[in-house]
């Protein structure tokens, strides 16, 4: 089935129920308090630990090998999935194992171990409840932490009713009791326990397992043979490293300060004396390469090996939350699933990467600050260059030429773009969904109405706009310029290209690099002359501070990033009291504020909310996430973008409308388009709301 069809099918199945989103929102709510307990230095320390673990991988591996040898455990390295499965199968045959109990291991999903064992007559029991549910349903996990998050209790009850051959009520308590009862016998009868490993400690050989159910403990307690299957990147140097990581893993994964069970297993245990005889438990470590060593040498994607599988990126990813991992994933799912699929399963399996809308929330959520949006664009680029870019994306790559052309005759263009027959043709030729309202072009673009203004008493500012403000809403920029000049700044508008975000979004990185080079060259020269760079669109600012430095990796791009501010971030730097002197207050105005994904101030504050409050507005705010439009992504027809985008927006708007307030306010022109399309509440840019006192 095509990806587009899979998308539409899943959207229709999840409609109004949103099981993935609701499960993830529940976790995010639990997380809020406990992650704030962790100082940023700890996060940086953990990142460093993972960096060093990958840097010293071969050294740690040798150390581990020596330690395990001394402890009588075996260590086997599997170069790929087939070899890993074969090793396990051979072990089962060697020891006459008929029943294997598995404790959740994403790596065994990666190697699709169950298929191999079951086809050789070995019974495999997934002991994690969620894994067991999907195993019985004949499905793959839809979430790396909640494998059955996509199912309702009724569906789960049906699965167990069929399996047990008697009615099981749709009551999680009852279902858990049944499974508990059944598994007690399985644990005691199993000939082998297979577990994954959250970490393996090189200095003492301990396998560290983190669970809430305790299935790993019971599986291990009774089994005479323990097979640990893990990726090579799970090796860390010391116990100290693990203790540091444990401060952030459960907090970010499930919102717990510590998971119910954390164990440090040393492979010199006496096995359970089921036959009344004391003997050692046999432990075999199978460490899997399967693309990891190559990835560790790949500068562009190396940092995904730092991933601690907390699933924070899945919790916030808007398209993933609408679709789940069966569509937005292969075996690894969600944002981290894109590069991990490339590493473990091959580039050809990353076709689902086009579902990523590059909102960037995954990076914001990642406790290790892995630059997933950039890495995912690199994967899209590699996929496109190898297997061809999707034709819609190739069309939309030329978005700026379309806008420039249309803006030559704005009235005619607006008329044509309003015509349903023209829109149908555009849908067919370009791929823009005809149901998506397009923004109206202004009669004159910003370049035509801008006049260099202000005196440089306090400083000099160069504006960086993006296409939407430049061509559609130049009056907002004019008001921004008036505010800045009233505050004592000279403002200029150099001739720059638009940010190039759609190119990055679709993985046209060579084209994006050319744009970045052009803009950075001009802005760097201005910065050297003492100009402060102020972006009017959050996405433009995101390009300057995140993407351009990654694309160019030079001194100039880093300098530009350092010298640039979002417009409201710059106002905050000047001080809200100064603003109050020149702007009329917003007393009595009730606002629902939407934080755009790309609004990331250097100090981490929610600047526009502060701005509105400083002017006296009453602001209602609920952090949910992306509006769903994400530039041209949500304009792409049907399952390529539009339908997913509308579904994301529908949920968000529904929540906002419950908050009260007269307007939805946001500083991103793209988000405003989505709200204008989906909400009955009026929506405004903050610059539409404010008025200068001097205008009285």
């Amino acid at each position: 089935m095509s990806l587009e069809k899979q998308v539409l099918e899943k959207l229709s199945l999840f409609k109004d129920n949103w099981p993935m989103l609701k499960n993830n929102l529940r976790i995010r709510e639990r997380k809020e308090k406990v992650i704030s307990e962790i100082a940023p230095e700890i996060l940086r320390e953990v990142r460093k630990i993972k960096e060093e673990s990958i840097e010293n991988l071969e050294k740690n591996l040798k150390r581990l090998e020596k330690v395990l040898e001394g402890r009588g455990a075996e260590l086997k390295i599997a170069k790929d999935r087939d070899e890993a499965s074969r090793i396990v199968l051979d072990l089962c045959k060697q020891y006459g194992v008929k029943l294997v109990v598995k404790s959740k291991s994403l790596t065994t999903e990666e190697i699709e171990l169950n298929k191999v064992l079951e086809s050789n007559g070995i019974e495999v029991i997934e002991t994690d409840l969620g894994e067991r549910i999907v195993q019985l349903a004949g499905q793959k996990p839809s979430h790396i932490l909640g494998p059955a998050f996509h199912m309702t209790r009724n569906e789960v009850a049906e699965i167990f009713t069929k399996y047990y051959g008697r009615p099981i009520p749709p009551d999680p308590q009852q279902i858990v009791l049944e499974v508990r009862k059944e598994f007690r016998e399985k644990y005691q009868r199993a000939g082998m326990a297979i577990t994954g490993a959250n970490f393996i400690i090189a200095e003492n050989g301990a396998t560290v397992l983190v669970t809430n159910e305790g299935n790993d403990r019971l599986a291990l307690a009774f089994a005479p043979i323990h097979v640990v299957i893990a990726g090579l990147e799970k090796i860390v140097s010391s116990t100290r490293d693990v203790l540091k990581i444990l401060k952030i893993l459960p907090r970010n994964a499930t919102g717990q300060r510590l998971s119910s069970y954390v164990s440090f297993h040393i492979p010199t245990m006496n096995a359970y004396p089921s036959d009344g005889v004391r003997k050692l438990r046999k432990t075999i470590y199978i460490l899997i390469d399967n693309g990891r060593l190559q990835a560790s040498k790949d500068r562009e994607i190396r940092e995904v090996l730092y991933c601690i599988r907390c699933a924070s990126c899945l919790q916030v990813c808007p398209p993933y939350n609408m679709l789940g991992g069966h569509v937005f994933g292969y075996i690894y799912s969600g944002p981290m699933g894109i590069p991990w699929t490339m590493i473990a399963h091959g580039l050809d399996k990353t076709y689902f990467s086009q579902l990523c809308n590059t909102c960037g929330l995954c990076r914001e959520a990642c406790p290790l600050d892995i630059n997933l949006p950039y890495i995912n664009s690199i994967v899209k680029e590699r996929y496109g260059k190898t297997y061809g870019y999707p034709s819609i994306n190739k069309m939309l790559k030329r978005y700026e030429s379309f806008i420039t052309f249309a803006s030559k005759t704005p009235n005619l263009s607006n008329k044509l773009l309003n015509s349903s027959s023209i829109r149908k043709i555009m849908e067919k030729l370009i791929g823009l969904d005809s149901r998506r309202p397009l923004p109206r072009l202004a009669e004159k673009n910003l370049g035509e109405i801008f006049t260099e203004t202000g005196s440089p008493d306090k400083g000099k500012i160069t504006l960086f706009t993006d296409s939407l403000i430049y061509y559609m809403n130049p009056d907002w920029a004019v008001k921004a310029v008036k505010i800045l000049s009233s505050l004592g700044y000279k403002v200029i508008l150099p001739s720059l290209k638009s940010s190039g975000m759609p190119l990055i979004q679709y993985g046209f990185m060579d084209d994006a690099r050319r744009i970045a080079e052009y803009n950075v060259k001009k802005l760097y020269e201005l910065a050297k002359e003492g100009y402060i760079i102020v972006s009017l669109e959050p996405t433009a600012q995101e390009c300057l501070t995140n993407y351009y430095p990654k694309l160019l990796e030079n001194h100039e791009s880093k300098t530009v990033a350092e010298k640039s501010y979002g417009f409201f971030e710059f106002l905050k730097k000047i001080g809200w009291s100064e603003l109050n002197k020149i702007l009329k207050n917003l007393n009595g105005v009730h606002i629902v504020y939407h934080l755009p994904c790309h609004s990331r101030s250097k100090d981490g504050s929610i600047v526009v909310k502060e701005f509105l409050e400083a002017l006296g507005a009453r602001v209602y705010f609920k952090r949910i996430g992306c509006c769903g439009l994400a530039g041209t992504w949500g304009m792409k027809k049907n399952g390529y973008g539009y339908d997913i985008s509308v579904e994301i927006g529908r949920y968000l708007v529904g929540e906002y409308e419950k908050l009260g307030g007269e307007f939805i306010v946001t500083e991103c022109s793209v988000c405003l388009l989505q709200f204008q399309h989906l909400s009955t509440m009026p929506s405004r840019h903050p610059l539409q709301l404010v008025q200068l006192r001097s205008d009285e």
Binding site: I201, N212, G214, R217, L246, L258, T268, M269, P273, G276
Partner: protein
């Protein structure tokens, strides 16, 4: 032992749904334990005994309940069906409400995790503030070949519609008794 560390430990345990008792005397502890085990029909394994006070406590308990069996790493009799187990953790962590056991055999692991109910008895003097304080301490056990097990509340799952259900594999009910005992 700082009183705020102890208070935090108790608060965290309560947040996790762990029934916690602070006992002012060994008699009080014994009384609580007797109440808890009096209706247990199956054998009651005890793990982690380290000192004379703990031995005496278990001996006293044995007088009231014949089902008590002490489990050592080299115990070689398989366990029958068990409803409840008792353990003496090495340490507690107040910030997370965690107790830490060491073990070097499957039978100790099974004793801790197989029953429906687990009771941890820990000296107030063995509660640390947070996980960072374990650096160094843990290595001494791991290097010797002993595994370490952290337990933070009852076994739980949220795999069905995010509803938290206790006792999916490990103990569903979890008690912690604190007493004035050994120093760290």
């Amino acid at each position: 032992m700082e009183s705020n560390v102890l208070r935090l430990f108790i608060n965290r345990l309560e947040e996790l749904g762990v029934e916690t008792h602070v006992c002012d005397s060994i008699q009080e502890l014994l009384q609580h334990l007797n109440n808890l085990v009096k209706n247990v029909k199956t054998p009651i394994p005890v793990v982690g005994i380290r000192d004379d006070l703990q031995k005496q406590l278990i001996e006293s308990l044995k007088k009231e309940n014949k089902n008590i069996i002490v489990i050592e790493a080299d115990s070689s009799n398989p366990l029958p069906e068990i409803e409840l187990s008792i353990g003496f953790p090495e340490l507690g962590l107040s910030n997370t409400g965690t107790v830490i056991y060491r073990a070097s055999s499957g039978i100790e692991e099974a004793s801790l995790y197989f029953p429906e109910t687990h009771v941890s008895i820990i000296s107030k003097n063995r509660i640390l503030r947070d996980i960072d304080e374990l650096e160094g301490w843990m290595d001494s056990f791991l290097e010797k070949g002993e595994s370490l097990y952290f337990i933070t509340g009852p076994s739980s799952t949220a795999d069905i519609e995010g509803e938290i259900v206790k006792g999916v594999h490990g103990p569903r009910k979890f008690y912690v008794f604190l007493y004035e005992g050994e120093e760290r």
